[in-house]
């Protein structure tokens, strides 16, 4: 599948169809999970009452931002080893989408936990290890984007950014472990009754668990498709830009 799409012509033909389909399906699935999550399912008082409805955006975006960083590193690796142009185009397109989902995860997480911990929002953001590791991930994405923007030629930017993404991904597990260890000894917030990120509430919520999980999965599928559509669209525009550059160069040359 991937090697089939590695040909830019085939990729353009595939993505012309895939973008609207992913957009449509993704929007419908996100809408369905939001409708159910915001209006239909009962609030869970122990998870923060109505605030826990932020979960239906928060958890899918948390999964996605980590997945997107891994995808960024994988695309960078493929480009660095095989120098396949489309892999670099993909890495370049993934970065802003990943940064956006990281920010979304961070914002919804801090809204959700605001009531759960009841100790002011600063404790919540700076005191929770999971949100802190998302913040670090956000800086990794920002560094990648900034480095790409700073280097003058496309080739140089691609190489430097690929090295950075690979250095980043080997560090992500260490950062994650260290931030988790930091939280257990912090004076701010001992491990909380809320387990952000875990789809299932406590066991004595008879029958509620599948309702939440179902909406989460709808949301996850929807956001994944939506992110894929946005990435494919950015990739298409990049391919077009490169083609336009080539045409311009040929024209200036006079042929």
């Amino acid at each position: 599948m991937l090697s089939y799409l590695a040909n830019p012509l085939r990729f353009m033909r595939f993505s012309r169809l895939a973008v609207p389909i992913c957009f449509g399906l993704g929007a419908v699935m996100i809408g369905w999970s939001l409708y159910n999550g915001l209006l239909v399912v009962p609030p869970d008082e122990r998870q923060g009452g109505d605030l826990m409805r932020a979960m239906f955006t928060h958890v899918p975006s948390a999964w996605l931002c980590m997945g997107l960083y891994a995808a960024l590193a994988a695309a960078s690796f493929v480009w660095y080893i095989w120098r396949h142009e489309l892999a670099d185009v993909a890495a370049r397109a993934i970065a802003p989408i990943g940064a956006g989902y990281t920010a979304l995860c961070f914002i919804t997480g801090s809204i959700w936990g605001q009531k759960g911990w009841g100790s002011g929002w600063h404790n919540l953001i700076l005191g929770d290890s999971r949100l802190m590791s998302v913040l670090v991930l956000f800086f990794l994405f920002l560094g990648y984007i900034a480095l790409r923007a700073a280097l003058e030629t496309r080739q140089k930017a691609a190489r430097a950014a690929a090295i950075l993404a690979m250095v980043g991904i080997v560090n992500v597990p260490i950062i994650k472990v260290s931030v988790d260890m930091w939280q257990t000894t912090t004076i701010h917030q001992p491990s909380s009754v809320l387990s952000i990120g875990a789809p299932e509430p406590q066991a004595d919520d008879e029958g509620m668990n599948p309702v939440y999980l179902q909406q989460l999965l709808w949301g996850f599928g929807g956001h994944t498709l939506f992110a894929a559509a946005m990435i494919l669209m950015l990739m298409r525009s990049e391919v077009y830009t490169q083609q336009a550059d080539r045409h311009l160069a040929l024209k200036l040359e006079g042929s």
Binding site: V136, L137, F139, L140, L142, G143, A146, L147, A150, L151, E152, K156, R159, A160, I163, L164, M166, V167, G168, V170, N171, I174, I175, V177, S178, V179, M181, W182, T185
Partner: protein, 219 residues
């Protein structure tokens, strides 16, 4: 392999550190200045200062390690030394490692030596001083290695200071966390072992990344 490029890299970075005005004193001044300003911002109660002191010093160390990073590889790129080193195939990672270690020796190690003085000022308990010094030494090495990767990646960028900070800061997080923990927990604690592991990991990965980045910068 001919070792002479390694020696020349060592010598040139030593002389660069002293040649460029008071460049070598800049991180020291930053470190000492931060620590001296802390009582003004947090108040001068001895109990509070001795509790936050080691953490403040870690913060000062992380920030002061960035002060001179921008110049580490840029000078070599500009005066052509990098091109000469690249002709000696295969040694660029080693040279990058040597340069980073020299950089640490010049502007990281003095911070370790300064620690007892500033720690005394902030009222850090004497029994924590030795773990703190060891921690700052190892942690500083981690900071300089990852910072060196950031510096090498942005070697061809003019005024790259903010970019280097943005790239390096997330990579500083593990050493910072384990470092702060090990000052409290002592030399026998898992945090100390984790800090050592971070240092070894950075020693293993960062030179290769720096080498690749410098090869790119020279083109």
């Amino acid at each position: 392999m001919n070792p002479s490029p390694l020696f020349s890299a060592f010598r040139s970075s030593l002389s660069e550190a002293w040649a460029s005005g008071a460049g070598v004193l800049l991180p020291l001044g930053f470190f000492a200045g931060t620590a001296a300003l802390v009582p003004f911002t947090l108040g001068s109660e001895a109990e509070l200062l001795s509790r936050v002191g080691p953490g403040i010093l870690w913060l000062a160390l992380a920030l002061s390690s960035m002060v001179t990073l921008e110049r580490v590889f840029q000078a070599d790129l500009q005066d052509g030394a990098l091109d000469l080193w690249l002709q000696d195939a295969g040694s660029i990672s080693l040279i990058a490692a040597i340069k980073t270690l020299t950089h640490w020796l010049v502007s990281g190690f003095p911070l370790v030596l300064l620690t007892p003085l500033i720690g005394f000022m902030l009222g850090v308990p004497p029994e924590k001083m030795v773990p703190a010094m060891l921690g700052y030494g190892l942690g500083g090495l981690v900071f300089f290695l990852w910072g060196g990767v950031a510096a090498a990646l942005s070697a061809s960028v003019a005024r790259a200071g903010l970019l280097i900070a943005l790239i390096a800061l997330p990579l500083y997080v593990p050493a910072l966390i384990f470092g702060v923990q090990m000052v409290d927990a002592g030399l026998g604690s898992p945090s100390f072992l984790f800090l050592c592991a971070c240092t070894l990991f950075a020693l293993g990965v960062a030179p290769a990344a720096m080498g690749a980045a410098l090869r790119l910068a020279a083109e």
